[in-house]
């Protein structure tokens, strides 16, 4: 027996949309989660499209955040950030975020790292909050009215309730997905990909941008690696080099030259405005962005990774 549905009266729906359509799913003021971790595998093409569409007042909810949130802050797209880490790791501090906090009192809400992740687990488990021990005495609880102290109902010991993330939408960038939304996660992955999987279970509207939309045959040969089944996915977009300038596991390294360009530009408001004009607003599409970066540069970032 074949599982083909070619003779059926209805056809299975493709979830493939354009990047513009996908970004259109995000409305002003939404709470959004962005896949990847720190400086790794962020859905940057999607971020640039959000900026191009001049979305505003987004709250970015994360575990560790980096250039994806910094660029949104620089563009005025993100007005609140809930996370444990906002920086560029080996590249230093996040310049636009830092300036927004120091000059404009940006709404930065700090959470401890693994508890920031547990907030997504609360959503996954259908809970309103995640219970935490060990936070007493920290400024994190004193300065955050969303964290509530309570006593353990069994032992009476002091605990804190951290709110679930209650995301409106989440976006991840993956190596490969099929047109229905099944997403392959390489076996030898790390926290950036693990967080993508958590997002797929915590958020009810997940958008996947993928390096490649693969055939049904390819997908089914890798079924054991499909940690995000199509039923969890709302829309799929094919976006090669969609994480640039961040790295993409098994595909390409981070583009240090471009990171340096961004960081140099983002030191001033004028500089980052020029960066966004040249890399986002003056370009009609992601293809134009890749042309701007240049084929030789992109090719130099490609890596060989056979440990999948």
């Amino acid at each position: 027996m074949s599982n083909s549905i070619a003779t059926a009266e209805v056809e299975r729906r493709s979830k493939v949309v354009s990047l513009q359509q996908a970004a259109g799913l995000v409305a002003d003021g939404m709470r959004i989660g962005l896949g990847g971790f720190a400086i790794y595998q962020r859905p940057m093409a999607f971020v640039r499209e959000l900026i191009r569409q001049r979305r505003k007042d987004l709250t970015v909810v994360g575990v560790t955040n980096s250039i994806e949130a910094d660029m949104l802050i620089a563009a005025g797209t993100c007005s609140r950030l809930e996370t444990s880490y906002m920086g560029f790791e080996k590249f230093g501090l996040a310049p636009a975020f830092r300036r927004a906090c120091e000059k404009h009192g940006f709404d930065a809400v700090d959470y401890p790292e693994l508890l920031a992740w547990d907030r997504f687990r609360a959503d996954q488990e259908g809970l309103q909050f995640w219970p935490a021990s060990g936070l007493g005495g920290t400024s994190l609880v004193e300065l955050n009215p969303d964290i509530k102290a309570f006593d353990c109902p069994l032992t009476g010991k002091p605990l804190h309730a951290l709110p679930a993330t209650r995301l409106d939408i989440a976006v991840i960038h993956a190596a490969a997905a099929d047109k229905y939304g099944n997403v392959i996660v390489p076996g030898f992955h790390n926290l950036p990909q693990s967080f993508d999987v958590t997002l797929s279970r915590s958020c009810r509207k997940l958008v996947v941008t993928a390096e490649r939309i693969v055939s049904d045959n390819f997908l089914q040969r890798h079924a054991r690696l499909v940690q995000i089944p199509a039923a969890r996915v709302h829309a799929v977009v094919e976006v090669p080099f969609g994480a640039h300038p961040t790295s993409m596991l098994g595909r390409y390294l981070d583009d240090d030259t471009h990171w340096a360009q961004y960081i140099g530009a983002a030191k001033t408001e004028e500089g980052v405005a020029e960066y966004l004009k040249a890399n986002v607003f003056d370009l009609a599409s992601h293809d134009d962005y890749l042309d701007r970066i240049g084929g030789a540069r992109l090719a130099s970032l490609l890596q060989v990774d056979l440990q999948q």
Partner: protein
């Protein structure tokens, strides 16, 4: 005849002597030359030394995901948590997901290493901001894992590459990790029943804590540093320093193990803060 011990080697042996067999030590991957040396490289070398001298069953957990890596294979310390160099490093086990294989709320981590922009007299640490939280003078990366380090790890070693009045303050501007406000009783009232900072390691001295009074005190002063220098560099009162010993130097055998076996290519301890300044 060995050349004299460097500051880095002095700190490595001081820490190594603290670790016990069967413990699990956690290091993050700090970035920036001085921070990486203090918060990552020196702790890794210290754990390797302990494994070769008295704690063969000590487990090294690198960057939160790599167990017992073969560090002698490194020619330099990687500068990114998921760098290819780390992914390719031979090791015993890898924790690839969260939740992973180290349930830190269930006693998985014996000790960790943390750093920050400020540490205060009771051992609170700050990695978040300087100034008023609503409009900080300097905004930094955030608390990261420090709240967990200071409450859910068995104990914490505070690693401070700078020792001056800006970093050693009476009261931090933001508490990311909790020391001993009100001593052990004060911690208990906050719901912190275990854990907390054990030592503070700096280029000038080693601090420990009067955990009843909840106050940092000088345990030993590094050779070549005077008590007056130490007072001038510290933003809180250090009390009477007259009986404080010098930090005990490495033995010839410890130096030999560090130089020949642990760090043969100077990948960990090659960075000299004094000459870099």
């Amino acid at each position: 005849m060995n050349t004299p011990a460097t500051l880095n080697e002095l700190l490595v042996v001081t820490l190594a002597r603290e670790f016990r067999n069967d413990e699990v030590g956690f290091t993050g991957l700090a970035t920036g030359a001085a921070a990486a040396l203090f918060a990552t490289a020196i702790p890794l070398a210290a754990m390797q030394l302990a494994r070769r001298t008295h704690a063969p069953d000590l487990t090294v957990l690198l960057a939160g995901w790599i167990y017992n890596p073969d560090l002698a294979r490194l020619d330099e310390l990687p500068d990114a948590e998921f760098a290819e160099k780390l992914r390719d490093l031979p090791c015993e086990s890898q924790s690839l997901d969260y939740p992973g294989s180290w349930p830190h709320r269930n006693g998985a981590i014996s000790f960790g290493f943390g750093s920050g922009v400020q540490v205060d007299a009771c051992g609170n640490i700050n990695s978040v901001l300087v100034g008023d939280p609503a409009r900080p003078k300097v905004r930094l990366v955030g608390s990261i894992l420090l709240p967990e380090h200071f409450s859910q790890f068995g104990r914490e070693y505070i690693m401070m590459p700078r020792h001056d009045q800006r970093t050693f303050v009476e009261q931090v501007d933001y508490v990311a990790g909790v020391g001993y406000p009100g001593g052990l009783e004060g911690r208990a009232r906050l719901g912190l029943e275990s854990g907390g900072p054990e030592l503070v390691v700096t280029p000038k001295c080693i601090f420990d804590f009067d955990k009843v009074a909840g106050r940092m005190k000088v345990r030993s002063i590094h050779p070549g540093v005077t008590a007056d220098e130490l007072r001038a560099a510290t933003g809180f009162d250090l009390g009477d320093l007259s009986g404080v010993p010098h930090t005990a130097p490495p033995t010839e055998r410890e130096l030999e193990i560090i130089r020949r076996e642990i760090d043969p290519r100077s990948a960990l301890l090659g960075y000299d803060m004094a000459s870099a300044q």
